[in-house]
Point group: D2
Chain length 176, copies 4
């Protein structure tokens, strides 16, 4: 996926690695949700992703490209991970649910990324269509808020995404 | 409309009038929007309502009843005003776009309501279906953000809803 | 405290009880926090309150009176509970951290209040001065985010305020 | 100012120019406000800045450095522009008032920056101390919300900061 990105915004992998050691990288993340007709969240979606020989449980997301709007980056990553029929309801406002900051040094914040200093705008995104994991995304699990709040589920999530899950549950008022 | 409400939550009009003189009344308002597939707001909906012998330009909304959830009150008022096929995307979070406070005394806040002290939770609500004004709602005008930002449009809106329109445009980042 | 309130907004206890059985009651709550010079929350304040012969662990807050602004209700309840030298930084925006809905019927939402249907606008409020519990407030405990996130602390909080604590920790990005 | 920044995060001006042509740059902006004891905004601060031989009217802000937290970047830029005694109340939550996206191509969004694709997290920051413009900041004007909302004031602001001012006034509920 990174290769494709690299070509499109004319960054070689070397350029990207160099930038990652010197600048904060802007990301977006989407927490996929299913809602009932009253907007109540019935399920939250967790992605199983194969990457670098391991399986990660995490949310949808990735880097914002040069000259790409936040909402276009969100739509692109959702389509890449969940396919073209997910019918995501991209939020009308650019104000995120939270801003996640990950640093290469552990302990600076709740998030840690050994590769880079990353700042992600995180949004809850209701999916009205069919989600079909694509490319290196193996599966999408839909969990009820009760299932999602279970400590073993939260602990199994990678890259601090268990914290994002707790924040999402708090945001929707379902963090019992 | 008030009569129907009154019956359902066992408040006589006298009771309601008495409460209005002594307690803040909780309201919800929905600003109906049309969005494109990237979540960009293309149109905002303004209601033409006949009430007490005059025509008001305002947003959808009304009182929250006893034992009614915020999201149920939003859904009920949207269905009352825009019909059963509006397919509103009720927000997943209870955090409103803004909180509007109207007082019977002019000048305390941007909003004024001679009848009562009213506190309204205001939400942007994307409508995916067909909106058909109902009952005392005569028409629904869909305005582009550019049209909506025009001073004459804003000034023509009643009950301080021109302020809500400005806040909505600011919230979606389209207040040029 | 209720008596004093009642007199000031000309509601007898009977009137108030009657309204409580028929209308949603508007409340505000403040989660007191201590911050460092970067705005990082170092401590969250929990009140020990004596009421109706029991001790409750909860946040600061109470009813919004007729013709009272949200920010004035916040300031009044903070002064009543934490004294006149707390120097609260009342938020500049009326948008709350969350909206808590409590119903007399258990299970409708995360909050339950046998006396009434209550809708509370909840704000994080930094206290820059000395907090001295007043009247029926016995003590104020300042907890670090780590202490506050401990299940036994959360479970000991009353009226669902453990949920508010979790939401506050999520909001400030410290829900590990 | 850019030179100093460059040295501290080991970016030469060439590196920075190169990154600016290939990656979105992360910024923070602070809208300085004065508040009364109820949190009501009484004044908003606009900076007069000398840069590249012209005078700009804009808000406080600048680039986020590698391995710098959002709240540290905010504090640093406020101290650089307003001096060490401004006593800013850095927000407790990382959720910004708005996210401003500026593109080198005019018309993509409400903001335009010929030098770069910039994404800024914008915060309202109450200043409790004395603000003394520093370095290339010539003066700080404190405007009442009414003065700030005047079209000539808004039009005179540079880099689209008139839009930010409108969003700030909407956010605090004072956009009449």
């Amino acid at each position: 996926m990174e290769d494709t990105q690299t070509q499109r915004d004319w960054l070689t992998q070397d350029d990207l690695n160099s930038a990652r050691a010197r600048l904060p990288m802007l990301y977006v993340h989407a927490i996929p949700v299913r809602v009932d007709d009253r907007g109540t969240v019935t399920h939250l979606g967790v992605l199983l992703r194969a990457r670098d020989g391991r399986i990660d449980r995490e949310f949808v997301g990735g880097r914002v490209r040069y000259h790409e709007r936040i909402r276009d980056a969100l739509a692109r990553h959702i389509e890449t991970d969940l396919g073209p029929t997910a019918w995501p309801q991209i939020p009308v406002s650019p104000i995120p649910m939270t801003v996640a900051e990950a640093f290469p040094t552990p302990g600076v914040s709740a998030f840690h990324d050994p590769r880079q200093h990353l700042v992600s705008l995180v949004f809850l995104v209701a999916m009205l269509g069919d989600c079909a994991p694509q490319q290196d995304s193996l599966d999408l699990s839909w969990l009820t808020p009760q299932e999602a709040a279970h400590p073993t589920v939260l602990d199994e999530m990678d890259h601090g995404h268990g914290v994002l899950m707790r924040q999402a549950l708090a945001h929707i008022g379902q963090l019992g």
